[in-house]
Amino acid sequence: MSTDVDKRREESAGLMEYSAENLVPFGPIHPSLKEPEYFKIILEGERIVDVIPRIGYVHRGLEKAAEMRPWVQNMYMFERTCGICSFVHSLCYGQAVEGLTIFQVPKRAEYIRLIICEMERIHSHLLWVGLMGHWAGFDTLFMWVWQDREVVLDLVEAISGNRVHKSMNAFCGVRRDMPEGMEKHIVERMKFMTDRARYYREIIDTEETMLERTQKVGAHVTQDTVEKLCAVGPMARYVGLRQDVRLNNPYAAYGEVPFEIVTRNEGDVQALLRLRLDEIIASANMISYAVENLPDGPIKVKIPPVIPAGEHSSRCEAPRGEIFYYVKSTGGRTPDRVKSRQPTLANLPLALEILKGQTLADVPVVLTAIDPCFGCMDRMSFLDTEKNKQWTWSGEQLRQYGINYYFPDRKDKA
């Protein structure tokens, strides 16, 4: 029975033409994946013919959970979407909710939001550069970069009191003011960060073995492919697309702080390394400017716990790319529906496209290149292997399913 199901499952995935010897399982538990995700890699010798992903190992049901919690609690729950770019999630959700109210965010709060966002970007990019070194087999880079990352984490701790989940954001403001007399220190540290980023740029540009691993990897991907597969963030900018929410649709204080978009044209993994290191320098400059030109005033406006009915959406540029939150309110104490989309889901098709034709040795490098965060992106799909049929549900059906699942005796309230 089970073999029959397996066979059909493989047929539906187009796997039947390959023998088992050609199939290297990559995950769900694999040393180069820090989160569980499964990739079936079909090989011919060392060359990759196809990669079939199977996502959903860390599906946590955040969107459904949001419908059962008050508006404010949700902000700190969505912050837990990701352990690296945590603040930007609460910011994006917060902006979507703020859009439903009549209150204005104070200027000072917007600047503080920008500072935290950019520090998060620096720390996320540094983390990525280190992991890139680790996965390419260059542990020394990993150790060095992660040591420098501590500098930013310490700053974040000094400002927000936390290192990872900052819990800084609030509706129409931020929860804590900048500490007194930090400006000089932050500017100094940002100068240090810029120096280190330049130094790592130099290493990446000159280290022969590193160049051999990253140059020309995935160079067959064109701008059209990237556009067609809807890649976001650095994965769009590395082929020369000027796509950045901070530029196209400024939020927080991004409209007022001078911002230079970083793009590259090579379209290989090497370009991604350079791009992210350049973005660190750009972010450091923005932080220095924002700290020096921090406006005075209140940091928060108090808003009532009930949000007026309506729907609103918000976009933000997370370190990995664009994130999107949609919020619908019926005027109650909890949201009616929250939808979020994370950049990893958008970038995964592109990563699989890059992998085709590369060798097995490139798998960790390419999968890392998109800066994957599988915990953020996991979704559900419906596939009935018994009847061999696939379908999708509308939002209403999905909601009904959720209600039936959690409250089986409440069927009347559809």
């Binding site: 399982p25 694999h30 010798g45 680790h134 087999g137 260059f138 060798t359």
Partner: protein, 328 residues
């Protein structure tokens, strides 16, 4: 007879080699830790010197799991064969004097055989565990062996040509006045690079790339077998450095000082310092390089190192014709 057996087993034979293996492991970990801004092992023994031994002993007491698809005979016996190869090869290296324990007239050929033998044993033991990771690792292993073997043998030939001898004792004996490395610097570099590939050190840790194929050919091993396989890797490290020292750096030879210290102890100290020096060079290289792909490794060995070592041999032949190298 009994003295020779004791020499082979305890000093300077197997026990010395294994002890140096543990020391090399510790130095390796400590060097890369210091280069990466960490402190490395600190708990077991002074400055963590006993950490490799502690790891080895711990693994000995762990449960051993044999995969159900594995070829059990090969899976159980190949680690022992693999362990034997570098221990046996070390008997041909002179350590406490100009003569080795088991040396004979053509023992360089025996060493070459044992090098090939250990690569063969690794590939069959990797293949016997029958998992997809080890299968890929076997492919990489064999390809890497075919790549580094040619430059390795050519550089050994260059050293043998300099000394006009096919035994390690002869090569060492011919270096009393001037080391081979001054006649054959290119061959020495090629030898070190090929040796790094043989020892699977970065940038040639391709068959055991942990981020790509989990543990490479070690993936399915556990317990005792894993302990001995890891130890064998370290012992091969010692042997690789010892061979480099014997062929190019004069082996245990050095200035004889009149302290009243026995000459054999001086020789032993010279030898140990030299292999630690060569080992240190490999630690530093290993820490500062990125793993390359198997195709790039093959290209490096066949397109660059093989012609280079051929040029070196030609150069040596010219020097011999010109009478600049005189066999002693």
């Amino acid at each position: 007879m009994i003295l020779e057996i004791l020499e082979a087993i305890i000093f300077p034979g197997a026990l010395y080699t294994i002890g140096m293996g543990f020391l090399f492991d510790w130095l390796d970990r400590k060097t890369s830790a210091r280069m990466q801004g960490r402190i490395g092992p600190m708990i077991a023994g002074p400055y963590g010197t006993l950490q490799p031994l502690a790891d080895f002993l711990k693994l000995l007491f762990k449960e051993e799991i044999i995969p159900s698809h594995a070829d059990k005979l090969v899976f159980l016996f190949a680690p022992a064969l693999f362990f034997m190869a570098p221990i046996l090869s070390m008997l041909f290296i002179p350590i406490i004097g100009p003569t080795s324990i088991a040396g004979f007239q053509f023992d360089i050929l025996a060493i070459l055989f044992l090098l090939g033998f250990s690569a063969f044993v690794v590939s069959i033991l990797s293949f016997s565990s029958a998992s997809s990771f080890t299968t890929v690792a076997t492919g990489r292993l064999v390809l890497q062996y075919v790549s580094y073997e040619i430059p390795l043998v050519l550089s050994i030939i260059a050293a043998a040509l300099c000394s006009r001898s096919l035994s390690v004792e002869g090569v060492v004996g011919a270096q009393t006045r001037i080391w081979n490395v001054f006649f054959a610097p290119i061959a020495f570099c090629v030898f070190i690079v090929a040796m790094m590939a043989e020892l699977e050190k970065a940038p040639f840790d391709i068959p055991s790339a942990k981020t790509e194929i989990v543990g490479g050919w070690l993936t399915e091993f556990s317990g005792r077998a894993l302990a001995f396989l890891k130890l064998t890797k370290e012992v091969s490290y010692v042997f690789g450095c010892a061979l480099a020292v014997s062929l190019f750096l004069g082996g245990p030879l050095g200035p004889i000082l009149n302290f009243g210290v026995p000459v054999s102890i001086l020789y032993f100290i010279y030898f140990t310092v030299k292999i630690l020096g060569v080992g240190f060079v490999i630690f530093v290289l290993k820490t500062s390089l990125t793993r390359i792909k198997i195709g790039q490794a093959t290209q490096l060995f066949w397109k660059i190192l093989t012609p280079l070592s051929l040029c070196q041999i030609l150069l040596i032949l010219i020097l011999i014709q010109g009478g600049l190298i005189v066999a002693t």
